[in-house]
Amino acid sequence: MNTGVLLRIESISKSFPGVKALDGVSFDILEGEVHAIVGENGAGKSTLMNILSGVYAPDTGKLYFAGKEVQFKDPRHAQETGIAMIHQELSLANHLSVMENIYLGRLTRNRFGFVNYKEMYKKCKSDLECLGVTDIDPDTLIADLSVSQMQMVEIAKALSFKSKLIIMDEPSSSLTRKETEMLFATINSLKQSGVSVLYISHRMEEIFEISDRVTVLRDGTYIKTLNTKDTNAKELVSLMVGREFNKTFQRKIKKIQDGEKPILEVQGLSYGKKVNNVSFKLYPGEILALTGLVGAGRTELVQTLFGLYRKESGKILLNGKEVEINSPTEAIKHGLGLVPEGRKTQGLFLGMKIRENITMANLPKLCRFLFIESKNEQEKAEYYVSKLRVKATDIEQQVRYLSGGNQQKTIIARWLLNNPKVLFLDEPTHGVDVGAKSEIYEIINNLASEGVGIVLISSELPEVLTLADRILVMHNGRITGELSREEADQEIIMEYATNQLNKEMVK
């Protein structure tokens, strides 16, 4: 291994209104190494990546690339210098072909200035072959590729810039096991040719499989860089959370009693391709986890139940009675609540106050002749802010200035105010720091013990295994497995989620 320093990161700091995202971070990335970055959500990983790839400029600090100081004006500038980033949400143009995406902005031209597709096709084919990719035709539209193929195209695009450093942000999050192995093979061959890879992942086993060194970030500060072979998962986790990781939240499993009646029963529910003949029961006080890979149809399932999509077939029974739910308004009237995925896109009214965000779904009940009873509204909001320990200056603060965890609590408060009988929680701890996470677990646990039926969508298997009484695994719009907590572990769940245990339904 070459030991020259490719990129020196020197006391980089970056603040956003209300948060110091990075605080004096310094470390080196060597030539031809796979360098993993770990840290809890909010540790500053994405901010750092965005600085390295030219999206943000740092407030203070310097970057030295191949010995020379660099200041990136924009991502294009970083790309031209030799740093390419592959984002978690792939950033390809869906309606263009593979080769057009790879050479976007620098399409091969003939001497009249027109695009020379024939030449570009040849070039693209050989570029892909260099990567060991033979199953992608340069003419295919991106929309027709699988997620892992798209990732390969992103990598090919990055390499076509002659990148020396490729940043990969959670590249395996939507890949199957097999596809991940292919990705690792590619990473290894990149390494052989002297390219460095900065690898961000939450999955410990991947970090130990692929990386040479690993850097830990916590709360925007640099903690330590270790040789991967000299450390272990336990040490990394304790460095990430800043304390010995042994005190974990544990929930007492709720057993369904004989003769107990389900609070919610779904029979043969279908909506488009994403929800296919789904049936399940939910009992009062139960936490039912709905897991599976991203895109398995979990979100569509709960949003169909919540009336956002019109179901094509199937029945929904609440307390044994069939109900028709055609809109979220009706769902709320029936006592359902939904903490949606994507706080900022679907949950919050960012420009509005905490008070207004909390009372939004329950406002008709706080009104007399359409006039908002402001005192009542204020008391309700105050009550839930203190009950859920939302950290804020006061209830009149705009939610945009709260941290992820407190924003999420605000949305949960919105539904608590409604006294739901069934609460759907879609990735409730996504992008939430460790402390707030365990507080949210406690809130969910308390709700269940008050008799609320809870459907928890989560991709984080440890979270599922901590909270759930029963686990449903979805794959391609179908429920492929049902597990009790005792029989579930990460491996079994992943097998169901990738549908490797075909038709071998438990129970």
Partner: protein, 328 residues
Amino acid sequence: MLSINQAETSLQKKSKGNLLSKLAKSKEFSVLVALFVLCLVVSLLSPYFLKMQNIFNVLRQISVIGILAVGEALIIITGGIDLSVGSVLGFMGVMTALLAKLHLPPVIIFFAAIIIGSAVSTISGLLTTKIKINPFIVTLGMMSIAKGFSLLITGGMPISIENNITYLGSGYIGPVPVPVIIMFIVAAIGHIFASRTLPGRNIYAVGNNERAAKLSGIRVDRVKIMVFSIMGALCALSGMILSGTLKTAEPTAGSGYEMDVIAAVVIGGASLSGGEGSIIGVIIGAAIMGVLRNSFVLLGVSAYWQVVAIGVVTIGAVALDSLKTKRD
């Protein structure tokens, strides 16, 4: 005893200071300062500006724009836009004249006009929500349709109105013109509606995050249609005022008003991307537009240059809005 008193007064001082600083930070305040500066400059340049008669004249001019701006603000807060306000106003002036020809009592004319105006704009609302056409295009079309009908009905000729409904435009209560009083009533109701009622809150929610509003059980389409219906009623009201002032319905009355109205809303602190804005700010915005127009007249700026200037002010206001959003 003394020390307690001292503590109390210092506490009072503190809360007073908070109130002042809160006021100074509010968006309306900076717009208000701009209005004062503008008035000061104009009054220095022209001695007529502060004459009682001119002030009421300006207020009268502001009233039509102000009333329309209240409705436009509600639409813009939901994230929509209405370009047809000027021509719907003109159309409603013509309708008022037709109703007056039937020798109906003013009260009946008033309510009939409000209903017709509301219905016209509700069509725009239905088209944007149910068929999902961009409100910009729908209301651009509606602008042309309303103007076309005004011309068809009148044959392009003004119709005179002989009915007491003209009191809305030409009457006085004491020294104060009736339109000015109507504007203040509309603004007060609009302010209470936007800040204290359920539908008012829903308007902000829809503009802030439509998806989240839907998931919170708000019937988003209804909210969007409602703001258009309100806009139509206000167009009818201003149509009656404008035709009443002249005791004549001009088929082309109100054309180009959408510029002043949208500029007033944006100057008043509403954001074209929705979710933000206040009725008080918008009324101050309308006042700024009114004073600008008045000052052009007082300072003898050619009418053609006025048209150019209004365009510049509109673009400037939107540019400020866009820079502000970018900074956030």
